[in-house]
Amino acid sequence: MSLADKLQDKKVLVTGITGFVGEALLHRMIGDLPGTTVVAIIRPKGSMTGAHRMAQLLKKDIFKPFYGEGTPYADAEALTAARIEVVEGDLSDVPPLPTDLDIVVHCAGDVSFDPPIHEAFTTNVLGTKSLLERINESRQGTDRSIHYVHISTAYTAGRRRGAIPEASVDHTADWRVEAEAGMAMKSRIEEQSRSAPMLAKFRKEAEKLHRRAGHLTAAVDTERRRTEWVAKRLVETGTERARSLGWTDCYTFTKALGERVVEEFASIFPTSIVRPAIIESAVQSPHPGWIEGFKMAEPLILAYGRGELPEFPASPDSVLEIIPVDHVVGAICAVMATEPELNKPEYYQIGSGARNPLTFEQMYAGIRAYFSDHPFDLGERGAVRLPVWKFPGGDSVEAMLRYGERAHKLADAVITRVPRGERTRKYARELDVQKRRIDFLRRYMDLYAEYAQAEMNFVDDNVLALHNSLEGDDREKFACDITVVDWQHYLQKVHCPSVTESMRRLDVVRKKRNKGLAETAGVLKKVEPNADAQIIAAFDMDGTLLSSNVIETYLWMRLPELDGPQRVAEFGQMLRRLPKLISAERKDRGAFLRAIYRRYAGADLEELNRIVDEVLSEHVLERLSGAAVRRIREHRAAGHKTILITGAVRPLTRPLEPLFDEIVAAELAVDDRGRCTGYLSGPPLVGESRAAWIKHRARKGDIDLSKSFAYADSHSDLPMLSVVGNPVAVSPDVSLFRAARAGRWQIVDWKTPSTSSRLELPGVNA
């Protein structure tokens, strides 16, 4: 009897139908098991209902042959009506199920290897339990026989070695205790993260980076660090708990406990447990190479093809238990048709190691051969150089990586401290690329090292027996004999072409886009007048419009007044204080400005204005970047309001007055004789105060900030740039450069004319 006949008129509940295996199973059942009805539990996602998601699913190419002309079904809706029943729901809260189920295939599960511990328990253990309870409820007290097929993983064997039998995993962990403890971790860790010492630690780290930008920016970063820490701890806790009991990670650990739950229910339902190993693309059905999303090996294959995976901590002789998805689905279908006895769950291990092993070295050779023939085309630099793996062993790869991480950290510390410039930014960008690669390596090393060094051998006699029991052309349709697969052919002609295809398409797009980006890099779009709303363009001064800084401009303003020896003394004092000032500047720009401006005490404000008009104005104008002035004028021509927001003292902005509609600068307080007191008449406008000022201005003046512009050069201006819709980082320092790249902001380089010299002190030697 064929499988189709055996499963005629059966109603099969499938969980996880939108997943990789679920989708393939649905495809097979619609096509090759015409008598079955599929009940799908689908979780609503966003605004999409379960039924909606099913409709989406059926629109995929692999389902198209099942409806339309030449088929029994006019369209996807007709197909759904005839063959599929959708139950909206979620494994964390399983809905009531139809009462006439014959078979349940539970493919849903958390497939990530490093889920947070509570999520792993929710889906893999508690979800399974509540599903089983609901199935029991659906029998409504009758003793209707429902065949429960549980899709687990071969790696429930954990860190065991040698031959793994097709039987219950031998361990003593109590799933109830573990689940309770695991679920409790969530609130425990959350609580821990909110303790004073932890919060202080996050805040300090955040402030080290963002204090200059202001408290709120630092606070946002503090909270981000906290949630990141919680997520990381939940994962770590899961992994460590798993390892402490002999499993590789939380995924296999909870999967194993899930099997225990299933085994407990084996007295109620005839039960089969299917344990596939690493599921990869199809050999035959739906079509060779079919794969949905990226599984375990794909990121590594792609990274290797891009030349970004210099080495891997695998043993060259360890066996990689890869299994094509259609073999898994074939086996599941065959298992569905079996009739196991109560209390005697059947185990099926679908792996390749026992009868057609693929070693890591062979796999590497296959992938390398593939990329040698079909290299990625990454731009104009020709094919990528493929790394040659020597398999030096886990420890030395780990050492390599650690060395890389340390070198990166050091380089990063250096780059954030050296003077800014085009070259610094180039190095920073290279470092960031490096960092991304190291992080990638670190993540995959930690995830996969265990698997790549596993020395297990999954016995699959039951599966072979299953295959052999298939009759007629079922052997073709539902093949699950791994020995038919030629691995080199599979890797080079089926799998790799399939997984790289989307990447290649993306590369073409990216190449075009990058070319476009390169052409427009550093070129600002022309500004347009806007009739609907008032638009502002806010500019920072020091470092943005002209190369100068507060210390320099202070010297410009003070030195002309003084005679020779006084000049030397003033200069010497500034020099002596420089280290202190620089460290103050790193911490708090406001305090730094106050420290400098204190030194104006006793200066005559009128005299300062005169010095600026007669001596400095020339100097300031000489240093103005031509591009900056053009941009300001462009804004004015477009009818935008131009605003200069600077921490510099008001007199210094005098030469720029005609360019701006409004100038916000530090006001030196004066006494009754017109002498500066050394204090400011209000706090200097730096960091977040700038953002607050702009927002306030916008509220008052009917200004559309989303269409407005801001231009600044330093990390402390981050808040100001963030409040407008068109932020532009001008010759930014490394921190702002990174923020700008992350936010896809425009970055331009406005150079101070090469004709001006930093060593010239107006009124002194120039």
């Binding site: 020339e618 104008l621 970047s625 031509g626 002035v629 360019l659 004319p753």
Partner: protein
């Protein structure tokens, strides 16, 4: 007696020749048969300058002697040529200082106490106090500057401009109110090259944009052939017509001075000698200069060149009525500069030096480099250009992307915004000139800072329109490709490459003329 200029024909004994190349120079071997035009050597200077000045003031041409024009209670205005003359700047004392002091002396004797001294800078940048002091001298500066009686002309100060009328061609004549309302305007000129002086002094130097635009436009300037020959220059014709209107209203006492070709002295003295006549000392200083400049950082090199002051000798001074005075002046200038050249060549070669009239104490930006080569030097001819129509022009200058944001703010924008759209003078004029001329920011900078007027780069571009129109190919040797391309030219690495590039229009063995200047020369092409 100094030797006249001559044309050398390069043969196999000719040593490598000096070619000016921005802030530096090259020693270039020219193809055999190249004709090299050498300027005349410096004419002998007047021995007693003071005496010559007195003589000119007391025995003017077609005018009463100056003392007779001066009387107590009158308004006297002295205008003088600004910092764009002479090039390079003159070693102290400046000839203008000497003349102004003499005029003031006579004025004091006559009891004139309403005197104002104006730098006739038209739309050029204002002179800094130091620059004013360098020209008029410490004494005059101290007595007049603090009281605001020594100042720069402001062509945008509408309250202080007077419209004197229109010429028969309908051209407005609008000049400084103070000059227009003075009983006597004494103009103190430095006539370095034939383009200067005459009616150009007052009716251009003290004129407003409204007045200037009648002749400073692409049409007039393309038909000024050349600027060095006022009788064949449309621009000068216009200035002369304006001068007629002006002199109807204002009594002008024109004092014109001419200088000799003594430009370089000391370590750079070899630059004005003929290469095969270099002494051991000249060769040593040439080597030292060449190596030194090559090794010096940009800023130092710039400073070395900016600090060059020339020991010009005065060759003549004439005073009185504008036209006859200018006749005499031109005669003297021609004697110093004119070199007879037989026939036009297929290819003209010009080395652009570090200085143009518009970047004294500043940097030579790409537009000024183009003007210096294709406006100033290319136009240094009488009769016909040195290059035949549709011939090729090869220029030397590094043309770095370098602008002074202080002096040339509108130049940067002109380069970025205007030249990126078009390099055709007429198109540029129609589309952009008005916008730049009336831009409040440029006007603000022109009036209060030290910036050239917003419209000035346009005038520069119009000035090269004759060369653009006349030459088929224009190639720069050793120039920054990007900047040169933006201006619509091409760049070659060597002279050989440049000749290769132009060979499609002038053939494989073109006739070549190289203008070996500065020192200044005018090629009288027959």
């Amino acid at each position: 007696m100094s030797r006249p200029g001559f044309v050398l024909e390069v043969d196999d004994r000719t040593p490598p020749l000096i070619v000016h190349n921005g802030e530096g120079f090259l020693l270039e071997r020219f193809p055999l048969g190249t004709r090299v035009v050498y300027p005349p050597e410096a004419l002998p200077a007047v021995r007693d300058v003071e005496e010559a000045i007195q003589n000119a003031l007391l025995n003017p041409i077609e005018s009463e002697p100056l003392p007779e024009l001066l009387h107590a209670g009158m308004r006297l205005t002295i205008a003088f040529d600004d910092i764009s003359l002479p090039l390079p700047p003159m070693k102290k004392p400046d000839i203008r200082q000497r003349v102004i002091e003499a005029v003031l002396e006579l004025a004091a004797q006559a009891g004139v106490d309403d005197v104002e001294i104006i730098s006739a800078n038209a739309l050029h940048r204002r002179l800094t106090p130091n620059e004013l002091r360098d020209i008029v001298g410490e004494r005059v500066f101290r007595s007049f500057f603090p009281e605001g009686k020594l100042y720069n002309f402001d062509a945008e100060d509408s309250d202080n401009l007077t419209h004197l009328g229109v010429t028969k061609h309908g051209e407005d004549v609008e000049i400084s109110k103070r000059a227009a309302e003075s009983d006597l305007l004494v103009y103190v000129n430095v006539n370095l090259v034939a383009m200067d002086g005459g009616h150009k002094s007052t009716s251009i130097g003290l004129a407003s944009y409204k007045s200037l635009k009648h002749h400073h436009n692409s049409h007039t300037m393309i038909h000024s052939r050349s600027f060095m020959d006022h009788k064949a220059s449309k621009m000068h014709h216009s200035a002369w017509r304006m001068g007629e209107v002006l002199t109807e209203h204002v009594k002008v006492f024109q004092i014109e001075t001419t200088l000799n070709n003594d430009l370089f002295s000391g370590g750079l003295g070899f630059l004005q000698k003929r290469e095969w006549e270099w002494s051991l000392k000249d060769q040593a200083s040439m080597l030292a200069a060449k190596r030194g400049l090559a090794a010096a950082p940009n800023k130092l090199r710039h400073k070395i060149y900016t600090d060059v002051r020339s020991p010009y000798g005065l060759t003549g001074i004439n005073a009185g009525k504008i036209e006859p005075v200018h006749e005499k002046t031109i005669e003297m200038v021609h004697r110093q500069h004119m070199v007879e050249v037989q026939g036009q060549a297929d290819v003209g070669v010009i080395g652009v030096p570090y200085l143009s009239p518009y970047n004294v104490n500043s940097v030579m930006n790409p537009i000024l480099a183009a003007v210096m080569g294709m406006g100033y030097h290319f136009n240094a001819y009488r009769g016909n250009p040195i290059v035949r129509k549709d011939g090729a022009l090869i220029l030397y200058h590094p043309v770095p992307y370098e602008f002074s944001q202080l002096h040339h703010p509108s130049y940067v924008d002109f380069f970025e915004e205007v030249l990126s759209e078009s390099t055709d003078p007429a198109t540029i004029e129609a589309k952009f000139e008005k916008q730049y001329a009336e831009d409040p920011w440029y006007i603000h900078l022109y009036r209060t800072s030290y910036a050239y007027h917003g419209v000035h780069p346009f005038y520069m571009w119009y000035w090269i329109s004759h060369a653009l129109d006349h030459c088929g190919d224009i190639v720069w040797v050793g120039a920054n490709r990007k900047t040169v391309e933006r201006m619509g030219f091409r760049s070659a690495s060597t002279l050989q490459d440049a000749l290769e590039m132009v060979s499609h229009s002038v053939g494989r063995s073109p006739s070549i003329t190289y203008l070996h200047n500065p020192p200044h020369l005018i090629a009288d092409v027959r």
